[in-house]
């Protein structure tokens, strides 16, 4: 190493504490006394006590020599022993200032206030938490632990840990100014035309203000006008080492607090004001002259690759400030002149600038999707989503997803209107009664995020009705949510060909479970198919025995199995809606089709069952009827055939029959009755207990499944082509079901293929 000069005093001398030392025993702060006690008795003589001070009214200081344990290659310039001043302020966190002038501005440091009772400039941020939250954890040992932890991290360079997250650039201010996205854009784009804002206080007594475009501001109190604030945005890139900056308290401090030598903010400010002054005329010029100054400081936090900003609000006129900045000459009463632009800029008037006090304010943009995602930590689901039904579950899931930033825009479709009983579990309030739920939810969303793009349609998805707006919404959405709790709407949506992937969510009638049916990404397993499989699962799985049982607690009759008018308490509705939202997030991230059922236990716990559903189906059409069997059902039939080999086997088929849509969805098969006979080339389905078995299943699924026909297997090597006997049988079945005005179905499972035969 090179040592040009080894004289003592090479290192700049330590910052001074210009106060009389006082005896340690004269320290009065409880925390300071605990700190001293720890140093004296429990710190293994490692921490050197240098002195105790009364720094200012109510502020005591303890100066220490703190061993850091640094090695020879620390990430930041940490010395083996650091001289620190720990300041104890009543009601505030202890401030730990470094007395070494060359102390690095690392992350988790911040500049001390200029009028702090020490010359020290850098303080170690040993705790991010608000003092009200942190103070109960503090004693002398905790201060030492936190200082030691701070240095340990500075030595390794891993400054962020579970105790301290990454810092913002600025220390927070007590006040905040909120501006909308439009104004924020105008500010950041720094248009050449000046932007005037009206700064309107939020609730009386609050420190939150709203920045409105001056001409769009809400009307002020009678006889008053809003003071125009000229917004000047000063931006710089902070090659941020992480140290937090304290907003300057007056214009004179702007340079020393925020500027760097190659990015002088005062120069930027002078340039901007000069340019405005020279370019404006008439009323705009008069407004400029009398306007107050609102400086928007935007700094790119290089560390976190994000912009951070804050406001500095001055209560002096722009014209007077411009005089101090050497831009204007002040009015001269002797000659009666007004403010005059100087031909060549004058010197900065340090005294005048120091008198321009700032009120600093945190900068808040409005709550928009980017922020929603940042706050939720979740991703965009789709750019555009269409939501059918904003009733109880629909409103809650929709609001959850909006607050999470799941979409850039949504279309809400619901023709229902809010009624008093809806308030039991809807997100809307009584002021919306009689209004369209879709429009009211759209307003609610706008109240959450004014810039959110939402369209409300007071329509209803109906296969017989061709609503262009609805069709357009469906076709332009990559995802469509069915929260209608209506079997019919869900099936109609399923039949709609031009649309995005559909996901349906509803509560069960008992009100103790939610169900999410998710189509597969490729569109091979639609909602109707999933509905059939859902019933099949309810019929088969023991845990679901009561899932679709009717609690007979209908408050408002509507007759549908998923009617929202069942008795269901608000907390369960909220819990199930939130859980359903999470399930939706999961299922849309997977390509496969699935059924998710989440059931609340008596203790409030939630048990989820997630069933993946195979895509694909076999379909036949006959006399205007479509008969379909999903791949999942076929797989179960084939498995039964395999078990029955070498004999044929079979049984009855249950399914959904939809006379309106002329659809039969084969969903479930029953095992062969006990009196059935099995042979290598023949199967005779018996009857013993069959009617009871069908009735049981039917009751278990709220009569959504009914008898649709028969199935049987063909032996090894045989095709699925109906035999002569099969033809006779299908005719008999058709005759039997003629009274139901629907075709009979016979499914034959052969060696390789499966055949659906139907006859009406």
């Amino acid at each position: 190493m090179e040592l040009e000069s080894l004289n003592e005093g090479e290192e700049p001398s330590a910052h001074s504490i210009n106060k009389e030392a006082k005896a340690a025993k004269a320290i009065t702060s409880d925390l300071a006394r605990s700190f001293l006690e720890f140093i004296e008795h429990h710190a293994n003589d490692e921490i050197g006590l240098v002195g105790c001070y009364d720094l200012s009214e109510g502020v005591e200081g303890v100066q220490i020599e703190f061993p850091t344990g640094t090695h020879q290659e620390p990430a930041y310039d940490v010395r083996p022993v650091e001289s620190l001043l720990v300041m104890f302020l009543k009601g505030s966190a202890p401030a730990v200032a470094s007395l070494r002038p060359s102390f690095p501005m690392t992350k988790h440091t911040f500049g001390l206030e200029i009028d702090a009772p020490t010359d020290a400039q850098v303080a170690l941020c040993i705790d991010d938490r608000a003092w009200e939250d942190a103070s109960s954890d503090y004693n002398g040992a905790e201060i030492v632990r936190r200082i030691a932890s701070w240095f340990r991290r500075a030595i390794t360079g891993n400054m962020d840990d579970e105790l301290q997250f990454q810092d913002p650039v600025f220390l927070p201010s007590p006040a905040s100014i909120v501006v909308g996205t439009t104004i924020e854009k105008q500010i950041l784009e720094q248009e050449s035309h000046p932007l005037f804002l009206a700064i309107v206080q939020g609730d009386e007594g609050s420190n939150t203000y709203f920045g409105h475009a001056y001409d769009d501001a809400p009307p002020p109190d009678e006889g008053k006008i809003w003071t125009p604030f000229l917004v000047v945005s000063l931006a710089r890139v902070a090659n941020n080492t992480g140290a937090m900056w304290r907003p300057p308290s007056n214009l004179g401090q702007l340079s020393q607090s925020v500027s760097s030598t190659d990015n002088e903010l005062l120069t930027q400010l002078r340039d901007t004001l000069s340019s405005f002054w020279a370019s404006l005329e008439g009323a705009e010029h008069d407004k400029l002259k009398t306007a107050n100054l609102l400086i928007h400081i935007a700094i790119r936090n290089a560390e976190l690759d994000r912009y951070e900003s804050y406001w500095l609000m001055a209560r002096e006129s722009v014209a007077d400030i411009a005089v101090g900045l050497g831009i204007l000459l002040p009015p001269d009463p002797d000659v009666g002149s007004d403010y005059v632009l100087r031909l060549t800029r004058g010197e900065l008037d340090a005294d005048a600038l120091a008198k321009v006090g700032f009120m600093s304010a945190n900068s808040f943009g409005s709550f928009e999707n980017h922020l929603a995602r940042a706050m939720s930590g979740l991703e965009l689901i789709a750019e555009h989503a269409t939501i059918l039904g904003v009733g109880s579950i629909g409103s809650q899931i929709t609001i959850n997803l909006v607050r999470e930033g799941a979409f850039e825009r949504i279309t809400l479709i619901d023709n229902d209107r809010l009624l008093p009983h809806n308030l039991a579990r809807h997100t809307l309030t009584s002021s919306s009664i009689s209004h369209l739920k879709s429009s009211e939810i759209a307003k609610h969303i706008k109240d959450i995020s004014a810039d959110f793009v939402v369209k409300a349609l007071g329509s209803k998805l109906d296969s017989s009705e061709s609503d262009k707006e609805v069709q357009q919404a469906l076709s332009s959405s990559s995802i469509v949510f069915d929260f209608t709790a209506s079997v019919g709407a869900s099936r109609d949506l399923s039949d709609c060909l031009s649309r995005g992937r559909a996901v349906s969510a509803f509560f069960n009638p008992l009100g103790n479970a939610y169900v999410v049916l998710a189509e597969d990404e490729a569109g091979h397993c639609d909602l109707a198919c999933l509905e059939a499989e859902y019933y099949a699962q309810v019929a088969q799985i023991d845990d679901f025995a009561d899932h679709l049982s009717d609690p007979n607690r209908v408050v408002v009759s509507s007759g549908q199995c998923r009617s929202v008018s069942n008795r269901l308490c608000a907390s369960d509705a909220a819990l199930l809606s939130a859980a359903a939202t999470k399930s939706i997030r999961k299922v849309v991230s997977e390509p496969s089709a699935s059924i998710t059922v989440g059931t609340i236990g008596y203790d409030g716990s939630l048990q989820n069952r997630h069933i993946k559903v195979s895509a694909g189906s076999i379909m036949v059409e006959i006399d205007g009827w479509t008969i379909r069997m999903s791949a999942a059902v076929e797989a179960r039939l084939r498995s039964a055939r395999d078990q029955g080999l070498p004999c044929e086997t079979g049984g009855v088929l249950l399914g959904i029959v939809d006379h309106r849509r002329k659809r039969v969805e084969i969903a479930h098969m029953l095992p062969p009755p006990a009196d059935s006979s099995f042979a290598a080339t023949e199967f005779v389905r018996g009857v013993s207990g069959l009617r009871d078995a069908i009735d049981q299943v039917s009751a278990r699924v709220m009569h959504q499944l009914t008898y649709v026909g028969e199935w049987h297997s063909h032996p090894k090597g045989a095709s699925a082509t109906p035999s002569l006997v099969d033809h006779v049988q299908i005719n008999e079945l058709a005759l039997d079901l003629a009274s139901e005005s629907r075709p009979a179905v016979m499914v034959i499972v052969g060696e390789k293929e499966t055949c659906i035969a139907a006859m009406e």
Binding site: L3, D45, T70, H71
Partner: protein, 371 residues
């Protein structure tokens, strides 16, 4: 494990414990000054060393007595198992696998107490031809061996000379350390023609490796600036400058000015002779640590500001250098209750700290009974 070097707070006296990466301990000097009735040292060195070694029977792989001054071997006869006399053999003593001494320790006449016991033990081991390393081979050692009916060649495995590394220690081994011997220099002793105890003492450079980083510790004894100048010149002559680089310097002679400039203490600051200036200023590394095994540095005019080390003038030389290179200057008696402990990390030396305990860790780490 992380190698450490601990320098014990014993006043103006030396004991330095090296805990190597393989767990082996090497002790440089043993001066249990707290045993002396007149001593104001209350550090219990014997317990500290024994507790570290575990429970009896205690075994220490290597003990180096750099020279036989009392402040480097006080208590030797009471603490260690000595092979040369049954009187010093009981189960509570520490058995030393290898005793390292300078040749002068064997040859010096007129010694008493612990110094004499070091000499007798070293002689015994050398005559036995095992359990000893004698540093340097001046002519008078050869003569002494011949007088005992032996030859230098017959004891070559017991002898290590300046310019060599001590056998059994390698940066490639699990111990991850090697010791390069700087002193005593055989030819100097031949020229001196008499035993000059301090100047014929052992000085070694320990080179540790951790990760990919070499960390060097220069373990000084009580040599003065003349001897250091000879070491520097000899090292440079052999092109071994890196053997005098240091990240840790266990300071020479308890921060005596004599190690800087034997002829001139200076009024406020000692000006070192050029070779020593090179050793301190050029060979010391950024953020290095100097440990002075000494009493606290006296202030000007205090009663301790006298002929005895530590000398404030010497400290006034070292301190700004260390400050400028962002290093540290540690005085053992500034913290008299515990040794200055230096960890050898993959990023160089660091002063080891006892981090503030988690609340209740004292109670929860031991059984608590109530009746």
């Amino acid at each position: 494990m992380t190698a450490t070097i601990e320098v014990f707070p014993l006043g103006n006296a030396d004991t330095t414990r090296l805990t190597l990466a393989d767990g082996r301990r090497v002790l440089f000097d043993f001066a249990d000054m707290g045993r002396s009735d007149s001593s104001d040292i209350d550090f219990d060195l014997e317990s500290a060393i024994k507790n570290d070694l575990g429970s009896a029977p205690y075994r220490l792989p290597a003990l180096c007595i750099t020279h036989v001054d009392d402040d480097h071997c006080h208590g030797f006869g009471e603490v260690f198992w000595l092979e040369h006399a049954k009187k010093y053999q009981d189960d509570d003593r520490i058995k030393v696998d290898e005793l390292w001494v300078p040749a002068a320790a064997i040859l010096e006449e007129g010694l008493t107490r612990d110094s004499r016991l070091v000499r007798e033990e070293a002689k015994h081991r050398l005559l036995e031809g095992k359990g000893v390393r004698v540093f340097s081979s001046p002519k008078i050692l050869e003569d002494w061996l011949v007088g005992k009916g032996l030859t230098l060649a017959s004891r070559k495995d017991c002898i290590v000379n300046a310019g060599q590394t001590i056998p059994g220690y390698s940066v490639e081994g699990e111990e991850k350390v090697e010791f390069f011997v700087h002193c005593p220099l055989s030819w100097v002793q031949d020229d001196d023609d008499e035993i000059i105890r301090n100047e014929h003492s052992i000085v070694v450079q320990a080179t540790f490796i951790e990760g990919t980083r070499k960390t060097r510790a220069l373990l000084g004894s009580d040599v003065n600036s003349d001897t250091l100048a000879q070491i520097v010149k000899s090292t440079i002559r052999h092109g071994n400058e890196d053997r005098l680089e240091w990240d840790l310097l266990k300071l020479f002679h308890h921060c005596s000015y004599k190690a800087l400039n034997v002829n001139d203490r200076g009024v406020d600051k000692t000006t070192p002779v050029s070779e020593v200036a090179w050793l301190i200023e050029e060979q010391g590394q950024d953020r290095s640590i100097i440990v002075s095994s000494s009493k606290q540095i006296p202030t000007r005019g205090s009663k301790e500001d006298d002929k005895q080390p530590p000398h404030r003038q010497a400290a006034a030389y070292y301190r700004p250098i260390q400050a400028k290179r962002k290093g540290d200057f540690v005085v053992t008696m500034d913290k008299p209750k515990k040794p200055a402990k230096i960890s050898i990390t993959a990023f160089g030396v660091s002063l080891a700290l006892s981090s503030p305990a988690v609340a209740g860790s004292g109670s929860t780490s031991k059984p608590v009974r109530s009746g």
